[in-house]
């Protein structure tokens, strides 16, 4: 893993950009998010991942103030999400559906944004889209899906938000566009430095990515009883073949059993381990926090 940013290891954590406590959202009898407690400091790029229906979009919409929690607290940029121009000015939320007015051109959208936002960097949008050879004067409904996503993203960035929430940001992009996305290589491992993992509407993991990776190990050993390991560490996943046993564990001290060989875990292994037998889900959502967009 190559960190893109210098992550202060033991430095005092900055003010939290996102802080939730027991955040719960129910739609009728369906619980979309349950007891979600996460914290993301400012200046981080945080990936929010989980299988379909895990509650990712629900969490993002709660953070953006588009929906209200059934229970629990949520604090974004130091305040509760609310209908207030100052709060909204600091949030950039790009929904999965890439909402744009189909009959309006990118230039029209730039003008709309200029009318509706206190901070608005119209020039950055024009530069960005011109650089991508996306016509500014064509109705966005006539652009390709990937181009539309780029227009929407450029418009979100023009707001200069303190918190950027992207729901499935690369879903509509072709592989080349993914590489250029955000001007960074859209390789999750290299971009994000924080991770929130949801599954079945609950938080499975939340924390600094390096710390999370350091806390986990893959143990490979003979096929034998693993109760001793299970007693001292938290076993996330066990794979047994006739010859050997592979465990993903969250460490609770050093591994004592010499029969098991410990190796570092990659992000992919970590993610798949927590998702269990689920089909490998694309690192779905990317939450970027802070100025270094």
């Amino acid at each position: 893993m190559i960190p893109m940013h210098e992550v202060p290891g033991n430095a005092l954590p900055g003010p939290a950009a996102i802080e939730t406590t027991g955040l719960t959202k129910r739609y009728g009898k369906v619980t979309a998010l349950s007891g979600c407690t996460v914290s993301v400091p400012e200046g981080r790029i945080c990936a929010l991942i989980g299988p379909n229906g895990a509650g990712k979009t629900t969490l993002l919409r709660l953070l953006a103030g588009l929906s209200r929690p059934t229970a629990g607290q949520v604090t974004v940029n130091g305040t509760t999400p609310r209908q207030d121009p100052a709060f909204l000015a600091d949030i950039g939320f790009l929904a999965q559906e890439i909402p744009l007015y189909r009959r309006l051109s990118a230039e029209d959208h730039i003008r709309v944004g200029a009318h509706l936002n206190p901070r608005w960097d119209a020039e950055s949008v024009r530069e960005r889209l011109t650089g991508l050879k996306i016509p500014l004067d064509r109705a966005v409904g006539k652009l390709s899906g990937g181009q539309r996503a780029q227009v929407a993203l450029a418009l979100i960035l023009a707001k200069q938000p303190r918190l950027l929430l992207l729901d499935e940001p690369v879903a509509a992009l072709d592989p080349l566009a993914r590489r250029n996305f955000l001007g960074l290589v859209a390789d999750l491992e290299r971009v994000c430095d924080h991770l929130i993992m949801l599954a079945s509407s609950r938080v499975q993991l939340c924390g600094d990515l390096e710390e999370l990776l350091a806390e986990h190990r893959i143990l490979i050993g003979p096929r034998k009883d693993t109760t001793a390991i299970e007693r001292s560490h938290r076993v996330v996943q066990i794979n047994r073949t006739p010859r050997q046993t592979t465990l993903l564990v969250r460490l609770n001290g050093p591994v004592a059993d010499p029969a098991f060989e410990a190796s570092d875990v990659s992000l992919e292994e970590l993610v798949l381990g927590y998702m269990g037998q689920d089909a490998p889900s694309e690192p779905a959502q990317l939450t970027t926090v802070g100025e270094e967009q």
């Binding site: 909204l88 909402p99 744009l100 189909r102 029209d108 009318h115 509706l116």
Partner: protein
């Protein structure tokens, strides 16, 4: 926000303005002709002292007359094509998510949009009504029927209230259903239903109707454009007589209630025999009506009702969009 509203809805606004302009040109040109016709007819009848018998005279062409009557539906148009899509089209396309993530509260977004839609609806209803009222002035003077349903509804101030109600109904339906076509269908059905219910059930009773009894042998016509609600004949015991179509009547009284002398008389002589006059004097005709001088009171009451309904619908929209999750 205003710029966004204009940019989003300018086609609707321009189409509406063009329709209004075309209508205005047609109405003004033909209306001047109607006024001239009326003036000429008045001069002619004054010369021949026959001004009372002009009720049958229809001024203007039938095509324009049909267009005038069809303005009954004009308020519904603004509800269907401006009101219903206002929220529903955005919800369908997901563009509310774009607007609501700018630095604009949903409340302001809704207030500005609804404000412009209501203004547009008021101008639409008001301009059409003003043109129709002016065009129909001479006919109203001749026919004395401005109070009749169908004519009451296209003149004066009520078309403004109907338009505001229609657009509010469309907006509320769109906000609740979040789909354009269902919202249009509900708006159309709701508009027709509410208008029909109020015409049939409420409007006749805004004020207590006046009932006048008079001798069947004499006539009675209230002054001006009164609104006739009921008429008939009551017998000696005060019971109202059924008036089927296929029987003989003498002065509105079924012949079967009268002595045979009356029937014979009506066939020939002018003066009925005393027995017949005596029998007829036991019957009385009645007319239940709203007097002509209540016209503007009724316009005011009806306007108030529809403005109140529009206000309720706007409140429903606000609750649906601001209290609920986006």
């Amino acid at each position: 926000m205003t710029w966004l509203v204009w940019r989003q809805h300018r086609i609707q606004f321009l189409v509406g303005a063009a329709l209004l302009a075309a209508f205005a040109v047609l109405i003004v040109i033909t209306g001047v002709q109607v006024a001239n016709q009326y003036h000429a007819a008045q001069m002619a009848c004054a010369a021949s002292h026959a001004c009372r018998n002009q009720g049958g005279l229809f001024l203007g062409s039938h095509a324009v007359g049909f267009l005038i009557i069809s303005t009954l539906g004009a308020p519904a148009l603004v509800g269907l094509f401006v009101g219903a899509p206002m929220v529903a089209a955005e919800a369908e396309a997901g563009t509310t998510q774009f607007a609501w993530m700018q630095s604009v509260t949903r409340k302001r977004w809704l207030t500005v949009k609804i404000g412009w839609m209501l203004l547009a609806a008021a101008i639409w209803g008001g301009a059409i009504s003003a043109l129709v009222t002016w065009w129909e002035g001479p006919n109203n003077a001749l026919q004395l029927d401005a109070f009749d349903p169908g004519r009451f509804d296209i003149m004066g101030v009520v078309p403004v209230a109907y338009s505001l109600f229609a657009v509010a109904l469309g907006i509320a339906a769109g906000a609740l259903l979040r789909r354009v076509l269902p919202a249009i269908a509900v708006t159309l059905a709701g508009f027709i239903a509410v208008r029909a219910l109020i015409i049939l059930l409420l409007r006749p009773h805004y004020m207590n109707a006046v009932t006048v009894f008079y001798k069947v042998t004499s006539g009675f016509t209230p002054p001006g454009s009164y609104w006739s609600l009921a008429s008939g004949v009551v017998g000696p015991n005060g019971q109202q007589l059924a008036q089927p179509n296929n029987i003989n009547y003498i002065d509105g009284v079924p012949a079967s209630y009268l002595p045979a002398a009356c029937t014979q008389v009506s066939r020939g002589a002018f003066t009925p025999p005393p027995s017949c006059t005596q029998a007829l004097s036991h019957f009385r005709a009645f007319l239940t009506y709203q007097p002509a001088d209540r016209y503007w009171t009724f316009q005011g009451i009806e306007t108030g009702i529809f403005l109140a309904l529009a206000a309720i619908l706007i409140a429903v929209t606000a609750v649906a969009l601001l209290r609920r999750d986006a």
